[in-house]
């Protein structure tokens, strides 16, 4: 007989909130570096930071998914009906898909870019490799660029839905879902 658990594994909680903060930065830097009226030098530096951060996010995501698979997850509250459980699970699947697609499409874009600029992950001795076989392929770069932007929009929508669901269930049904993702006892 297994005892029921109330929250996710501590590592999952740390990674969940780390990714949440990282995504805020990635969205902000991504939108700013493309749209803001800034100097070429600042734009170039921001691109390099965004690329390096994307590599870190990818690794944190892999660790997050690994932890999720390797550890037990708390069951959804009984108060949720079958349809809500289905929607929650589907939402999470889409969230993970979008989360993984973002850095992968970014990586593909950088690898196929005619610029061929390397991605140093904040230090000169970590040179993140390009995906082989796509160098200077403008078609693939354009495709990856479109996927990156469309997925970013989808991910933003999914995150909004994710947060809204937590708030909505709390207000409407007094279900404290966020306690599953923190160290509170209840």
């Amino acid at each position: 007989m297994t005892t029921s658990i109330q929250r996710y594994h501590s590592l999952s909680i740390v990674l969940h909130w780390a990714i949440a903060l990282a995504l805020l930065f990635m969205f902000a830097s991504g939108l700013y570096m493309v749209n803001a009226d800034i100097s070429k030098a600042d734009q170039y530096r921001l691109f390099q930071i965004h690329k390096a951060s994307g590599v870190l996010v990818l690794w944190v995501l892999i660790l997050r998914i690994g932890t999720r698979i390797a550890t037990r997850s708390p069951a959804l509250p009984d108060a949720l009906n079958q349809q809500q459980v289905f929607k929650a699970k589907l939402g999470h699947i889409f969230l993970y898909m979008a989360l993984v697609t973002m850095p992968l499409s970014g990586w593909l874009m950088v690898s196929a870019s005619p610029f061929g600029l390397p991605t140093f992950v904040f230090v000169d001795w970590i040179n993140w490799p390009h995906i082989p076989g796509v160098a200077r392929n403008k078609s693939i770069e354009t495709l990856a660029n479109n996927v990156h932007w469309i997925t970013a929009t989808a991910l933003g929508t999914l995150i909004a839905g994710h947060v809204s669901a937590v708030v909505w269930h709390n207000k409407k049904h007094h279900i404290n879902l966020i306690s599953r993702m923190w160290w509170n006892k209840k």
Binding site: K40, A41, F115, G116, L117, P118, R136
Partner: protein, 190 residues
């Protein structure tokens, strides 16, 4: 009679052999001042550098391996031949240094060497006016520059259009990021 006295006097004071030797020494020292011997130079005795702008920021780099042979006027058949190893170009910026060897930039895999061969060298007030062919990525373009001759060194600085050599041709043909004009500098210590 007077002449023979003087001649005898000279012969006594400066024997003929001594005079001849002296003349040869004077001639040779003058000759070496005017006509320099062939000058060979490498990264040990000079610098070949390049500079430009990327994203509005100045960058500078140098070839860490090159060699040049200079036979300057008034020597007969004056010529300058220089060879530089493209994969030795370093800027100190890891992103630039990783990108420069790539296909669209220096393409070092297919074109390991860049060369300069002069076609005409004329003496000028500052030193020399040099015309020649600069070959990068197997593309040869004529260039001209003034080679300034100071006491201890020869130096020059001239600009090339990187697009003439298909450098960054695919990546940045409109020079949105990297300046079209790249300055080449050379200093050779004598």
């Amino acid at each position: 009679m007077k002449t023979s006295v003087n001649s005898t006097f000279l012969n006594r004071t400066f024997p003929m052999g001594m005079l001849l030797s002296f003349s040869v020494v004077v001639y040779l020292s003058l000759a070496t001042t005017v006509v320099q011997a062939e000058l060979k130079s490498t990264q040990q005795s000079g610098t070949v550098s390049f500079s430009g702008q990327h994203a509005g920021m100045n960058f500078q780099g140098k070839f860490e391996r090159w060699q040049a042979t200079l036979n300057l006027p008034p020597q007969s058949n004056p010529q300058i031949i220089a060879t530089f190893y493209m994969n030795s170009a370093k800027t100190g910026d890891s992103i630039y240094d990783s990108t420069l060897p790539e296909f669209d930039w220096f393409d070092v895999e297919n074109h390991a060497l860049g060369t300069f061969v002069s076609t005409k060298i004329e003496i000028t007030e500052e030193g020399y006016q040099v015309l020649g062919d600069l070959t990068i990525k197997n593309i040869t373009q004529p260039v001209s520059f003034t080679l300034t001759d100071s006491q201890d060194k020869l130096s020059t600085r001239f600009g090339i259009n990187r697009l003439d050599y298909k450098i960054g041709w695919e990546s940045d043909p409109d020079a949105d990021w990297v300046s079209k004009t790249i300055s080449i500098s050379m200093v050779i210590n004598k």
